[in-house]
């Protein structure tokens, strides 16, 4: 993008500014559209699982316009701030959550080289920023001025922070095998047929993927780990006092986080933008993305990535509407007694495997 604009306008500061703004806008559009699509997807998938249809009237037979309709309704709602609330913190909390989630998109590669910020420590950056979302939750719960909200916020924070540990361990394993934390590098290492994907690399990676999936669902507070939002017990946890637009922001943050976590899982374990059959290279569209052929091949990779991420989110939605909810002590037990030891064993096993069979790290 930057090269394109400097080619036309010369290396002057407006070129860089416009390039940065366009990339920002693109990412924002991706974040918001993903939220909208997932709201619609959730309603349709949950309806089908429950033997009903879901939205069928708003915008045609499939209810395409339901998310904008929902958004419009929520925008028009009365803005209620409880009297006991800490007003500035109450206002700021949803945006903290959303900004943290939006920053995750900065380092997420959508295709080979198509990433806003190609950080050498990309995986680590994603882990670091993922832990910031909990701030918005804590602030929201505290600033609502109600003990229910505070308890829900504390539970959610405890859960997210605890699950960062096994999540980090699971992310370290593909990094170990690649020899780099750069997500683009990790994705490129899995190019080719589907057996190059890391999930098929060795049995430890296969198990790690499922542990990663569990931790990812837990860190985004989705069922069966959604006790902080449990309706039958705490009304809505930290979200109790949030209505209208602020609630929308919190939920966009949640759906965007689901997309990122799913996308990260696909990059780390499922080959990212590489399809099961390397169609692009077979057809001759592979190569450097700066060439036309390479760019078109990359477009195919983008489609692959988005498909995998959306599929991951669909699986999360599927889980939510099938399984009951775990109690908070069971959630913490799962993390500390099952996920952490298993992830550690997988780490040791994957290290051994690479030394014995692949001839060392980074090959």
């Amino acid at each position: 993008m930057t090269e394109l604009l400097t080619y036309f306008l010369g290396p002057i500061w407006p070129a860089y500014t416009i390039a940065a703004l366009v990339q920002c806008a693109l990412l924002l559009v991706v974040a918001l559209c993903s939220a909208a699509v997932f709201i619609w997807l959730e309603r349709k998938v949950s309806a089908r699982i429950q033997d009903r249809l879901g939205p069928t009237r708003v915008g045609g037979r499939f209810g395409w316009l339901q998310p904008p309709a929902d958004g419009l309704k929520l925008l028009c709602k009365e803005d209620i701030i409880p009297a006991a609330a800490d007003r500035p913190l109450f206002r700021v909390a949803p945006y903290v959550s959303f900004c943290a989630t939006f920053c995750l998109f900065l380092a997420l590669p959508f295709a080979n080289g198509w990433v806003a910020l190609q950080l050498n420590a990309g995986a680590f950056f994603l882990l670091a920023v993922a832990g910031l979302e909990v701030f918005g939750v804590i602030l929201g719960g505290y600033a609502s001025g109600s003990k229910w909200s505070l308890y829900g916020a504390m539970r959610e924070a405890a859960q997210v922070v605890s699950y960062e540990i096994p999540l980090g361990l699971c992310v370290v394993i593909p990094v170990l095998i690649t020899g780099s934390m750069d997500l683009v590098e990790i994705g490129n290492r899995q190019a080719g047929w589907f057996y190059h994907w890391y999930i098929f690399h060795d049995p430890f990676m296969f198990c790690t993927f499922w542990i990663y999936a569990t931790c990812a669902v837990a860190s985004t507070n989705r069922a069966p780990f959604d006790l902080p939002e449990a309706e039958s017990e705490l009304v809505a946890g930290f979200l109790t006092e949030y209505s209208g637009f602020r609630w929308v922001i919190f939920f966009m943050a949640e759906y965007a986080a689901m997309f990122v976590v799913s996308g990260l899982g696909s990059v780390l374990f499922l080959g990212g933008w590489n399809g099961p059959i390397p169609v692009a290279s077979l057809v001759g569209l592979s190569g450097d993305p700066s060439t036309v052929a390479g760019w078109l091949g990359n477009l195919l990779g983008l489609a692959n990535f988005i498909f995998k991420a959306v599929f991951g989110v669909t699986c999360m939605i599927w889980l939510r509407w099938t399984l009951p909810r775990l109690r908070i002590d069971q959630v913490m037990t799962t993390c500390l007694k099952y996920c952490v030891p298993l992830a550690s064993i997988m780490l040791a096993g994957a290290m051994l495997w690479t030394f014995l069979f692949s001839g060392g790290v980074g090959r």
């Binding site: 949950s46 699982i49 429950q50 033997d51 009903r52 003990k147 069922a223 069966p224 959604d226 006790l227 449990a230 309706e231 039958s232 017990e233 009304v235 509407w321 099938t322 399984l323 009951p324 909810r325 775990l326 109690r327 908070i328 002590d329 069971q330």
Partner: protein, 401 residues
């Protein structure tokens, strides 16, 4: 002589969390009705539970002193509104006991079809709402879908979906419409696989078992002491069902039927059907067993309905219509307990010779089941309270009357 010294004190002197008083309800996201449960918690652990009732009190018993028994029938629908037919049956049989009347064979078989279908409908609500309480939204939809089919059948029979007033003193208000038996049989045939789906989603689900097994264990002696009945009692292993062990006027209705009482005798449930296995974590008397008894009772009800449909078709005679009870009621009193889906429902009518009773008393099964809640909830986590309340299967209509 030295008096006894006080025993050594064990003192907790670290940072102590305050005790908190939390209200669950009366507007409850779980559909148990307007029940207010006041919890005293120490952090996450519940130390004391006090249920507060009366939000749905409508003076049904007092109203019964001003209406003839036939006029009082619609008020019984509104007691356990999820199983209205069983309430109608209880009241009708009680008045028939006072009057000394018996219904014909065909009516008896028809009453069994209807009340057992109502039992299935009630247990479906219990299972669905229990899943809902624990965060599993899908079984709720599936059970209510099946319940819709039952309610459609009931609507064909008596014109109402919830407040039937169908089983009346002396018989039923009208005979079955033509073709109804075929539709009922079709419903039963397509319902059997759905039960297996529910077992897969709830009964055998590891998370469901974690949330219900070992939670709220009710000892048989305590269950009997508190007057618990129905699946709550049988879930603790007490082999007692009024359809087999009750008064003759009620048990005669079930004469000639082959069915099993669902209670764990000798550590085993009846083996007449491929029921799912009992997980090792489940302790007899816990929430899982109470829920499991209801699921098995649904299968038994299906057996009863099939037998009843066949007997009804073969029986000669006509179905009795409502008895003419305009004249004075005979002096005396009659108390009859019947096996409703939620437990033993008792109706008492004391008559002093006038057309309206002198006193009507309703013994509610859920009232006694609810009374054991403070005992069960001692020392559990806050998240377990909805699990225990859901397993007791309460309906506030009959608790508050």
């Amino acid at each position: 002589m030295m008096s006894d010294r006080p025993a050594s004190e064990i003192v907790d002197f670290d940072v102590h969390t305050d005790e908190m008083l939390i209200n669950m309800g009366p507007q409850h996201p779980s559909t148990h009705g307007v029940l207010r449960v006041a919890l005293r918690t120490d952090g996450e652990v519940v130390t004391e539970v006090t249920p507060h009732i009366g939000y749905l009190h409508r003076s049904a018993e007092k109203i019964g002193e001003n209406l003839t028994p036939r006029q009082f029938l619609p008020y019984t629908d509104r007691l356990d509104y999820l199983a209205g037919m069983n309430m109608n049956l209880g009241w009708a049989l009680c008045v028939e006991k006072l009057l000394g009347q018996r219904v014909s064979e065909k009516t008896r078989h028809l009453r069994i079809i209807i009340t057992e279908l109502s039992r299935i409908a009630s247990h479906l609500v219990a299972a669905g709402c229990y899943g809902l309480d624990l965060g599993s939204f899908t079984p709720f939809m599936w059970t209510f879908r099946e319940r819709e089919k039952i309610l459609n059948l009931f609507e064909e029979v008596c014109g109402a979906r919830l407040t039937y007033s169908y089983i009346t003193v002396g018989g039923v208000t009208a005979d079955l419409p033509s073709g109804w038996l075929g539709r009922c049989e079709a419903f039963l045939d397509q319902f059997e696989p759905v039960i297996d789906d529910l077992h897969a989603l709830l009964t055998n689900n590891a998370i469901f078992i974690h949330r219900t097994a070992g939670i709220g264990v009710l000892e048989p002696a305590m269950a009997i002491d508190y007057g618990c009945t129905g699946p709550v009692l049988r879930g603790s292993g007490v082999d007692w069902d009024l359809r087999r062990d009750g008064e003759p006027i009620f048990t005669d209705m079930y004469e000639g039927y082959t069915w099993r009482v669902i209670a764990s005798t000798g550590g085993q449930y009846p083996q007449d059907h491929p029921y799912p296995p009992v997980p090792p974590e489940a302790v007899l008397g816990d929430s899982w067993h109470r829920y499991f008894v209801r699921m098995l009772e649904v299968v038994q009800s299906m057996y009863l309905i099939r037998q009843a449909m066949e007997k009804y078709s073969r029986a000669g005679g006509v179905v009795d219509g409502p008895a003419q009870v305009k004249a004075k009621l005979p002096k005396g009193e009659a108390y009859l307990e019947t096996e409703a889906p939620k437990g033993q429902m008792g109706f008492m009518i004391i008559s002093d010779g006038t057309p309206v009773p002198w006193r009507v008393r309703i013994r509610s099964s859920s009232f006694c089941n609810l009374s054991v809640l403070p005992e069960l909830c001692r020392g559990v986590l806050v998240a377990d309270v909805p699990s225990i309340v859901g397993s007791l299967d309460l309906v506030l209509g009959e608790i508050d009357r």
